[in-house]
């Protein structure tokens, strides 16, 4: 007996088309970036990520300084954010799972994620920068105020809600009977967290951290406002630097010349590839964890 499918086949087709459409959109994004960065890909070659001279006047576009700046700010932010979000995850996933404090803190973390990037940047400009400047004066370093460190600290607060949220969920998923088994052996609550809950939730937490990293790599406005926008490669945390995203933000609307524009698009392509890779790996780890450790 043939199943009656005529009613609604147009609708089903629409669903499939839109579903396909998303993948097509993604492919189109990738291809557009690839296509329009082609002049730069051809001209710059591999020196693009190994060289440090970014000079629109001479036509040399090498992005190592910005790649380094992105990696530096992202990883420092990640280190700070991971420590803070792990604390939040443990506090809200283990110690205070319900109650007023938990509700307030959970809301606070979620609101942190909702604050627009420019507002973070604005606050950073007016508070973080003078603070860092004071620190630099105290240390005898040039008092730029803006720089890699400033951007990293600001970035840390922007990305911590992601790893905190996932971490909290992973820790709260630790089965009660495992925690009881540890307690019945005479462990203290912190020992249960450190030696049973954290190892159990470890992969999921890692996934959340990777997702945070993906965020950090692409964060633009706040970083642009406090990173100093210098073009040279630097590993000095206290000096101005630049990231791939903030470079694009600063220079794109003013870029003239085909290669200049294409080089900036090449940077966007690089950003696209790296953040996509990290996000996919992060999501995979989280999915794998949820399936494996609690079958």
């Amino acid at each position: 007996m043939r199943i009656e499918r005529d009613s609604g086949s147009a609708f089903r087709t629409l669903l499939v088309l839109v579903g396909l459409g998303v993948s097509v959109l993604l492919a189109a994004i990738f291809l557009s970036l690839l296509l329009f960065s082609r002049p730069a890909l051809l001209k710059n070659g591999l020196r693009f990520i190994t060289g440090t001279e970014w000079n629109p006047v001479t036509g040399n576009f090498q992005a190592l300084a910005f790649v380094a700046g992105t990696l530096l700010t992202s990883f420092i932010a990640l280190a700070i954010a991971t420590a803070l979000s792990l604390a939040l995850a443990i506090l809200l996933g283990h110690y205070f799972r319900t109650g007023a404090l938990a509700a307030v803190m959970k809301t606070a973390v979620e609101l942190l994620a909702g604050i627009p990037s420019v507002v973070y940047g604005f606050i950073g400009l007016f508070f973080l920068v003078p603070a860092v400047r004071a620190l630099q004066l105290a240390l005898g370093a040039p008092p730029y105020g803006v720089g890699i460190l400033t951007a990293s600290v600001l970035l840390a607060f922007m990305i911590l809600p992601y790893s905190a949220s996932i971490g909290r969920e992973m820790i709260s998923l630790v089965p009660a009977d495992l925690k009881e088994a540890a307690l019945s052996l005479g462990a203290t609550p912190s020992e249960v967290v450190r030696k049973v809950s954290l190892p159990y939730a470890r992969s999921g937490i890692l996934g959340g951290v990777l997702l945070s990293l993906g965020r950090a790599l692409g964060e633009t406005m706040a970083v642009t406002m406090v990173v100093g926008n210098a073009h040279n490669l630097t590993l000095n945390l206290l000096s101005p630097g630049n990231t791939m995203a903030s470079l694009i933000a600063n220079e794109f609307s003013e870029a003239t010349g085909e290669v200049y524009l294409a080089s900036l698009i090449e940077i966007a392509l690089l950003l696209f590839l790296v953040s996509t890779a990290i996000n996919i790996v992060g999501k995979l780890i989280i999915k794998r964890t949820s399936a494996a450790v609690h079958p």
Binding site: I29, S32, L84, E219, N279
Partner: protein, 282 residues
């Protein structure tokens, strides 16, 4: 064997808990600080003039954010008109066909789209709209925002629809209702609050975006409702004013931040009330 003394273990236990609490406070107190500061500084700039006047030239007092407010509304409108229908339909597709091969690929595509830095999407909108039209426009900004909002709406729609019991759908189908009608007249309405939540979250995200607008909408010191002309937006205005060297403009930026923050946080709190799970909006 050397046993750890109970005393030191208990002290360590207390220290650990205190440490976790302290770090958590470090993580969350800045929020209170940011909110408090902007409320205080920004509130003083808010008056009717501020909300209805155009930006004044440098040196002149007064000035307002009317163009930015209108521009933001315009951009979100364009973005929503594109992303809401497409997002909801994509969400329905994922809820209905999510377990098929195409469904998994689509979900991967949606999640990937969500993770793309917004400035990259701005460049794509530049390539697709600004270049052909040979100029900045509200339309290109709307396209960029649509790409940012789409995945949020899609995924929340999917999540909402998956929560609706299968029996509801089966009851309708058993009555002889056609499949499209079942979805549109029975399932979707049942999930309306969840879908609305997704839309609000997407709007909250879109309203705060400025990176992709830098070279699409570009900004406009005048009031404009044309979709083919450049247009101002609240976060762009904040960016320009905040990074300028003029204190009067800084005051305007605080006021604009106040408005933006109030709006975004209100949206977030409303959606929290509507949905009870703790979710972070990506």
């Amino acid at each position: 064997m050397r046993e750890a003394s109970l005393g030191s273990r208990l002290r360590g236990d207390k220290a650990f808990k205190a440490g976790m609490l302290a770090l958590s406070l470090v993580a969350t107190l800045p929020l209170a600080f940011i909110l408090g500061f902007i409320m205080v500084r920004g509130a003083s700039s808010i008056n009717w003039r501020f909300l209805t006047a155009l930006p004044a030239p440098v040196g002149e007092a007064g000035g307002g954010i009317a163009n930015a407010l209108v521009g933001t509304v315009l951009l979100i409108l364009i973005g929503s008109l594109i992303s809401i229908p497409l997002g909801v339909i994509a969400g329905i597709f994922l809820a209905e066909r999510g377990r098929t091969r195409l469904g998994s690929v689509t979900r991967l595509a949606v999640e990937t789209l969500m993770g793309i830095p917004s400035i990259v999407l701005g460049i794509v909108a530049y390539i697709w709209v600004v270049r052909p039209l040979k100029g900045f426009s509200a339309f290109s900004g709307g396209i960029a925002l649509a790409m940012i909002m789409l995945p949020v709406i899609t995924l929340t729609t999917e999540e909402t629809l998956l929560l609706i019991p299968v029996s509801l759908r089966e009851a309708a189908l058993a009555l002889g209702v056609s499949y499209p009608r079942t979805i549109l007249r029975v399932v979707l309405p049942a999930g309306l609050s969840g879908i609305l939540t997704g839309v609000l979250l997407a709007v909250a995200r879109g309203v705060g975006e400025s990176a992709p607008l830098l070279f699409t909408a570009f900004g406009n010191p005048f009031l404009s409702v044309s979709i083919l002309k450049p247009v101002a937006s609240l976060p762009l205005t904040i960016f320009n004013y905040a990074t300028s060297p003029y204190p009067e403009w800084h005051a305007l930026a605080w006021g604009a931040s106040f408005v933006l923050l109030v709006f975004v946080l209100a949206l977030n709190l409303v959606t929290k009330l509507v949905s009870s799970k703790w979710k972070v909006q990506f």
